[in-house]
């Protein structure tokens, strides 16, 4: 019986559990788990919203051989029109454990492209992974979303940052830098030097809010045309992404002279072995006119600093948001957070090389929410 791609229904849940068990047994990778339930826990389909997720399965004679998730969301485009586009994520294939199913990866992607020709992928873990390799080969347009980080506690950073301690020699160097205070002095000096060179930011006020409301609509309407591509960030969307019931998020409203100029959402990342025991804060999302990115990232950084983070990370694509972070002392490093657009989507983003610097992409646009922001 041929493999067919079908919507994931509750009756498929036992077969998905068996599929997950096969992946787990053969790979010993606990992260390779397709969603257990047919109805997404995050952003389920609703008649009243254009922001929702749905799942699809590759089925063969009752067995699940793969699956993927498709998130639908409205975006503003360079031509000023709002269109709903699809985000393809979490593709899983039996092909990773049984090569006779090598075809499943192609089938899943082709199915998603047929359902949502305006399709994008984000994140993916780097160009050396199978999915981005496949997308590049298919001629998708792509770029890496810059990654920024700010070290707040150099001593803990030097001792805990596992990626910097890959060998005995590097571990010794990191220990020396931490113990001597040289690392602390260098990082503090860099931050001070960057701040001195940065343009002065006009004074602003910050308020922690429980949830977004109508004022966020005004900000969205006022600033949306300043971006070449941005996911809709009106109050309704923000309340779905950052519901008041979710205490992981800190929502900040930023004003100047009594007028709203932006907002930010920050939070603490879950523990990750590459960061050791450090507390890692994330500037998850934000919105403002590009010229007002600086107060927004300043407010977000201050909130995370006050919350006791050791390190702050953020992915920001827009050039002015990146500059605002750099002016605060954030460093950038190689990013494995990749944006890739299908040919149909990319055609609407031309000229891509100039538009890409004006696209607003953050971690909030990826598959990380709510687990991995």
């Amino acid at each position: 019986m041929p493999i067919t791609i079908q919507p994931y229904l509750p009756e498929h849940e036992p077969a998905v559990a068996e599929f997950n068990q096969r992946l787990k047994t053969s790979t010993n990778d606990p992260t390779l788990v397709f969603p257990r339930y047919a109805v997404p826990r995050w952003l389920p389909h609703s008649q009243s919203s254009d922001l929702f997720q749905e799942y699809f399965l590759a089925l063969e004679n009752g067995f699940v051989r793969g699956g993927y998730a498709l998130k639908h969301q409205n975006f503003i485009f360079p031509d000023g029109k709002v269109r709903r586009i699809g985000y393809y994520h979490h593709p899983y294939s039996e092909g990773i454990i049984n090569k006779s199913y090598a075809v499943v990866g192609s089938l899943l992607l082709r199915d998603a492209m047929a359902r949502s020709p305006l399709l994008y992928c984000l994140g993916m873990g780097g160009y050396d992974r199978p999915l981005p390799k496949m997308l590049v080969r298919l001629g998708w347009t792509h770029c890496a979303i810059p990654f920024y980080f700010l070290v707040l506690r150099p001593h803990r950073f030097l001792l805990q940052m596992q990626a910097l301690r890959g060998s005995a020699a590097r571990e010794w160097l990191m220990n020396l830098a931490a113990a001597s205070g040289a690392g602390w002095a260098a990082m503090k000096a860099l931050r001070a030097w960057r701040s001195l060179r940065a343009p002065r930011v006009e004074s602003f006020t910050v308020e922690k809010i429980a949830e977004f409301s109508a004022w966020a609509n005004d900000l969205w309407e006022k600033n949306k045309d300043a971006y070449a591509l941005a996911a809709m960030r009106d109050a309704t969307t923000l309340c779905l992404l950052y519901p008041a019931t979710d205490e992981h998020f800190t929502r900040l409203r930023i004003r100047r002279g009594g007028q709203d100029i932006g907002w930010a959402v920050v939070g603490e990342r879950r523990k990750d072995e590459k960061y050791g025991e450090m507390r890692v804060g994330s500037i998850i999302d934000g919105w403002a006119a590009p010229g007002d990115a600086a107060p927004v990232v300043q407010a977000a950084t201050a909130a995370l600093e006050q919350a006791g983070m050791d390190l702050i990370v953020s992915n920001q694509n827009h050039a002015e948001w990146g500059l605002a972070l750099a002016n605060l002392g954030f460093l950038s490093s190689e990013s494995n957070f990749i944006f890739a657009a299908s040919k149909t989507l990319a055609a609407l983003l031309q000229p891509f090389e100039s538009n890409r610097l004006r696209m607003h992409f953050t971690r909030a646009d990826g598959d990380g929410l709510p687990r991995n922001f």
Partner: protein, 81 residues
């Protein structure tokens, strides 16, 4: 050059393997380098080489070199000249 020879040459280039080691029964299970990414590459290479478009159903049936040859030959016979 037969369709089989041409497809074998494409697969040989993609998988970096001698053509002599590829037969009609070669499949992802018998060729180390034939993974999901290379499968897609092979599909795209076949489409480009023979100027044809393969449907998801046809791609799903492409489990061996022999299967690919059969599908391509079938499409070439029905294609308008």
């Amino acid at each position: 050059m037969t369709v089989f020879d041409q497809i074998r040459a494409l697969a040989s280039d993609l998988f970096a393997i001698s053509p002599d080691k590829l037969s009609v029964s070669s499949s992802p299970e018998t060729v180390d380098a034939w993974d999901s990414v290379q499968h897609l590459n092979l599909v795209l290479a076949v489409e480009e080489k023979f100027h044809l478009q393969l449907s998801p159903e046809e791609i799903e049936q492409m489990k061996t070199i022999g299967d690919i040859v059969k599908i391509v030959e079938g499409k070439l016979q029905t294609a308008p000249s």
